[in-house]
Amino acid sequence: MINLLGWIFIVIGVCFALLGCLGLVRFPDLYNRMQAATKGVTLGACGLMFGIFLLKGFSVMGIKALVCALFILLTMPVAAHVLSRGSLFFGIKMWHKTELDKFGPDKVGKELIEKPDSEATDEKA
């Protein structure tokens, strides 16, 4: 019974990781790509490690899998937040259909939402 539960966790984790990587290819913008990829892959990796812990129990491999899951769960959102804040101050443009920019041009110092005509030339290229 607990073996079946562990395999279900592993398969769900692999599916979430694959969907996160597909979002990394398909989304239009850096920030959209970043949220899709980090959320999906974090949940997928944690599910996979928790499935290995359920399969192996309190052995050497199971404890290490649990430690690895906790580490990924703690550090992946921190890394994504630092990188997205850094690229916001670096001046990477948002998508041209973005409606609300709460961080605003008054804090960063420049307009970050992309103009539509430059996006049209981008799509042709």
Partner: protein, 84 residues
Amino acid sequence: MEILIVLLSLGAFFCLYRALQGPSISDRVISVDIMSIIFTCITALMALRYNIAFLMDLAITLAILSFIGTLALGKYLEGRSLDD
């Protein structure tokens, strides 16, 4: 089991496409980060498949290294020094 490893490798190829294609530097950084997390998952699955316990140590090391690299490049992009 092998099918799961092949699916994760397909995801790593998606990340490789974005790392080669990506328009800005942050795309490349985040795709390399995601790719190393995928390699962590592949290493953990190999430890389960061949029943070798120290491959899990390798997985923890990969996760730590990808976190430190992404943190350093994010602070570099923000334009501050690392000790802030």
